[in-house]
Subunit: 110 residues, 2 copies
DNA sequence: TAACAACATTGCAATAATACGATTAATCAT
DNA sequence: ATGATTAATCGTATTATTGCAATGTTGTTA
């Protein structure tokens, strides 16, 4: 039905899924990498840098902003986006706990 | 259009997006956590464990299998799934490189 | 104030994802 | 062989996502 049954899963599981979902599009990965690379707030160059239309970029930025991973400062007529470091660290904790699950050696099969 | 323009992004960016996408649903997160927790191949208990119908679970398992993150061994009438450790480690490298991007202290704003 | 610049929003078309009933395929038990 | 069990696949309804043209909003500049 296109609608995930989030209510039957734990908060942690839904949180991991939410973070992952936002990373699940290469444009958003590219935006974040660009923001990291510049290590400073950048503004409208994202549209030129990534080959997507302005409304599309704006939409991706909004999703990143909704999760709190980026912040936007209005600077005159342009808006300056950058990584929210606290939130990024917080997200990283959650994701690492998931990715770093112990792989015990003696599994029964496979 | 519902169709991501993957061709304008790098292989690495698309790879990160692919891994993230598969983690972008709580059911698949739950399946993986259960597989890790049991540290042994389990079969149809996933249907009982997670509250989704059998075809739905089977569909999620297929997506995980397509990415290579899990393996399935046929054991009689049931199928035994477990984490593919090599592939998991490989995936972890890629994801960590993305998550661990340097957050330099002296950013210009925000 | 009027024109402009930079983004955000809206609306829409096209495709993808989610979920499950029904069915099929394979194996086991008798 | 027959029936039961397990899981994969098919078909389909429903919702979500992606992308962009058109338009709106806000602040700047002449």
């Amino acid at each position: 039905m296109g609608l995930a049954k989030t209510e039957i899963f734990s908060n942690k599981q839904n949180q991991i899924a939410s973070y992952s979902k936002v990373f699940g599009h290469p444009a958003r990965v590219a935006i974040l990498e660009y923001l990291f690379d510049k290590n400073a707030c950048i503004c409208g160059d994202l549209v030129d840098e990534i080959g997507l239309a302005q409304p599309t970029i704006s939409q991706h930025l909004r999703e990143l902003k909704q999760l709190g991973l980026i912040k936007g400062n209005v600077e005159g007529t342009s808006v300056c986006y950058c990584i929210d470091k606290e939130k990024w660290t917080e997200m990283k904790q959650v994701m690492l706990a998931f990715l770093d699950q112990d792989i015990v050696a003696d599994s029964k099969c496979c």
